[in-house]
């Protein structure tokens, strides 16, 4: 099995190249090639999974060295793949969800003239994402990291004939670069500290390094993770990224790519183990983002932007969990997997609704779609219940466990993190219910020209599969601690942990809050009529609608000072660096100007100077000799 691991990356990459190079000739069959490539890697991934199940827990992790990649002085980097439980979990998530979304896209993008390119980019994304999770060194991971960034950029701007889409793509790209900067710095620190950037050397040597260095690495890695995973303070790009086609939002901006930051933190667990400060920052970032995303989600009317805010918020939960230590890693990944299913499912549902409503995204123009789109309603409903954490659906097993974990600890931390997570769950219930009710229930607010209809089977079948996953995956994985046992060899374990409040109390509290949130949403958006125009907002709602003014903050905190800094640097460069060079040149020119006066063109002046020179020389010889 290991010998064909490289096929996981090679197959979608080859498909991408074929689709790009074949040109219009591939228009007729290109999308099926894309589906085939993603299905093949899904099958390989499943095969690898069963092969790994057949082994002992200790011998499941294996690495494959492919070739010597970089040989530069002290820096030796081999391109190698690391196949263990963590990477394989991601492989399964990426390939299975990816394959389903490929199938869905065949129908969703049917009328797009550039469908072949869309599939090429999707395959590029699959290849890059698998490279990211399978890499055995930070440097190779970085290649995949940039690859998914590129694919994300291309797909957000897929309809780049609209200027705002191109702008959104650029924004995502730029914000992601900010995060990449952190990863590059982290690798630089690793190289100076450990002389290597491979996981084995860095994570294995983490015990011997000083805490300050590890904290620095941890924080820079966190910067990278916040960029890729749209966490505070680099969260601003995700909402705009919804400009891309909906399958892209489902695959890249909900299920897989945005979770790469969580993967990075969990993969670097050994570093965060050794530095409490960095871990605490991870938890704080997660807590801020989860509450921020939830608030933003409550005020948005664009169905996709609500889901994007929800994604932010859910990844905030994962980050919070990842900041809580080894047991947190497991549930971060657990939530990541379940979220991958139900969030992808809901995005596909949203895509189905948009498909039916002629690309209308304003929820105030939806309503009462339940009867028109039964399949979408059911699958979406399962996702909705799952994210709410209603037992026994998936979210209950992962998210509620994170809430419990957040209450573990000493001092102020369990109370702050725990209450944040708890309140977040309540708000989540509110905004998801709001979305669900505004879309599928209440009075119909769409116009007569729109004829809502159910989507074709190619679209609904992937939704059904994902809905089944949303419903039962959590139960299946949680039963008998299957997932925990599966991942423990990679993440380590923290033993039994006692929350500061009793677990039954927490579960009751959570469910009560969720029920309250649902009830509030029911009262506001189902029982009462929803105005088709957004009412004048209060200050809080206005702030939430504007993504908590994140763009303004970025502008005030980074862009404007950055502009001034750049101008200062440009000025300093012109005045000092260029100035020194120019002044030197000016000095030489002035010397030339001065000596030019001797070159008057008058022969007698030249003769005079010659005589003067001769006399000086002769005098020196006479006096000196």
């Amino acid at each position: 099995m290991l010998s064909v691991t490289w096929l996981l990356i090679a197959v979608p990459l080859a498909s991408f190249l074929v689709l790009m190079l074949a040109g219009r000739r591939a228009d007729a069959w290109g999308h099926w090639l894309g589906v085939a490539a993603s299905s093949v890697v899904a099958l390989i991934g499943i095969g690898a999974f069963f092969q790994m199940l057949g082994r002992d827990a200790e011998s499941r992790s294996e690495s494959v060295r492919l070739f010597t990649w970089i040989s530069g002085g002290d820096l030796q980097v081999d391109a190698g793949l690391l196949v263990d439980q963590l990477s394989l979990t991601f492989v399964l998530l990426v390939t299975i969800v990816g394959a389903l979304i490929h199938v869905y896209s065949v129908a969703y993008m049917e009328n797009d003239p550039r469908r072949r390119m869309f599939f090429a980019y999707l395959n590029l994304f699959i290849a890059a994402m698998l490279l990211l999770v399978l890499a055995d060194s930070y440097l190779l991971l970085f290649v995949g990291w940039e690859g998914v960034g590129l694919a994300s950029y291309l797909l957000i701007g897929f309809w780049n004939h609209k200027p705002e889409n191109a702008t959104a793509a650029n924004k995502a790209f730029v914000v992601n670069r900010t995060g990449d900067f952190g990863l590059i710095v982290a690798m630089a620190i690793m190289f100076t500290q450990f002389g290597s950037v491979s996981f084995a050397d860095v994570l294995g040597g983490a015990d011997g390094a000083s805490t300050a260095v590890l904290t620095a690495i941890g924080l820079t890695l966190l910067l990278a993770a916040t960029g890729k995973s749209a966490q505070f303070p680099l969260q601003s790009w995700l909402g705009d990224a919804m400009a891309g086609p909906t399958p892209v939002s489902a695959l890249i901006h909900a299920a897989t790519m945005v979770t790469a930051g969580v993967y990075l933190v969990v993969r670097s667990g050994a570093i965060y183990e050794a530095t409490d400060d960095a871990r605490l920052v991870v938890a704080i970032v997660g807590a801020i983002t989860l509450i921020l995303g939830a608030i933003i989600g409550s005020a948005k009317d664009d169905i996709k932007k609500v889901l994007a805010a929800s994604t932010m918020s859910q990844i905030g939960y994962m980050m919070l969990a990842a900041g809580l230590g080894p047991i947190g890693y497991i549930f971060a990944i657990f939530h990541l997997v379940t979220n991958g299913f139900f969030k992808a499912g809901m995005f596909l549902g949203a895509g189905s609704v948009m498909h039916a409503m002629k690309d209308q995204v304003d929820m105030r123009r939806f309503g009462a779609l339940r009867t028109a789109m039964v399949t979408t309603w059911i699958t979406f409903g399962l996702g909705w219940l799952a994210i709410l954490g209603v037992p026994p659906l998936s979210g209950f097993w992962s998210k509620d466990k994170i809430i419990e974990l957040a209450f573990v600890g000493e001092g102020w931390q369990p109370w702050v993190f725990g209450l944040t997570a708890l309140i977040g769950a309540g708000i989540t219930a509110f905004y998801m219910s709001r979305l669900f009710f505004m879309t599928f229930h209440g009075k119909a607010r769409w116009t007569d020209e729109q004829h809502p209809h159910e989507s074709p089977l190619l679209m609904t079948v992937p939704m059904m599969v994902l809905a089944v996953g949303s419903a039962f995956l959590g139960l299946f994985l949680a039963a008998g601690n299957r997932f925990q046992n599966w991942l423990e060899p990679v993440t380590g374990t923290s033993g039994e942990l006692e929350p500061v409040l009793a677990v039954p109390v927490l579960i009751t509290l959570t469910l009560a809050l969720v029920a309250a949130g649902v009830a509030l949403a029911y009262w506001m958006y189902w029982r009462n009529d929803v105005p088709t125009e957004a009412p004048p907002p209060s200050l809080a709602v206005l702030a939430a609608r504007n993504d908590m003014f994140q763009d303004s903050v970025n502008r005030a905190v980074f862009q404007i000072p950055g502009t001034h800094l750049t101008r200062t640097l440009v000025y300093a460069d012109a005045a000092l660096v260029d100035g020194a060079v120019n002044k030197q040149a000016t000095g030489i020119a002035a010397f030339g100007e001065a000596s030019r006066r001797f070159q008057s063109g008058k022969v007698r002046s030249y003769a005079l100077l010659m005589l003067l020179g001769f006399l000086v020389l002769a005098s020196i010889i006479v006096v000196g000799g």
Binding site: Q599, S600, G601, K602, V603, R604, L611
Partner: protein, 99 residues
Amino acid sequence: MSPVNFVYLAAVLFAIGAATVLLRRNAIMAFMGVELMLNAANLTLVAFSRMVGGIEGQIMAFFVMVVAAAEVVVGLAIIIAVSRARQSISLDEPSELKG
């Protein structure tokens, strides 16, 4: 009286020739200054030859004369060509050399 006095005389003539070259704007006049300097050098050669007692200095002076004659021919030809081209033989005139 020692022949070395002729060397002093040659120095004076040479200085006058040099001053002529520097001060006169007429090319022919400057050229005559050059000739005077050459002759002063010749006088030096002959005076030293006399003091040494040999004849090589005179031979050298003879050669200098021959070369000077050739130089005068070419120099005057140049002056004529310049005066045709510019209607002037002033040394201050051709300032294409100006930098």
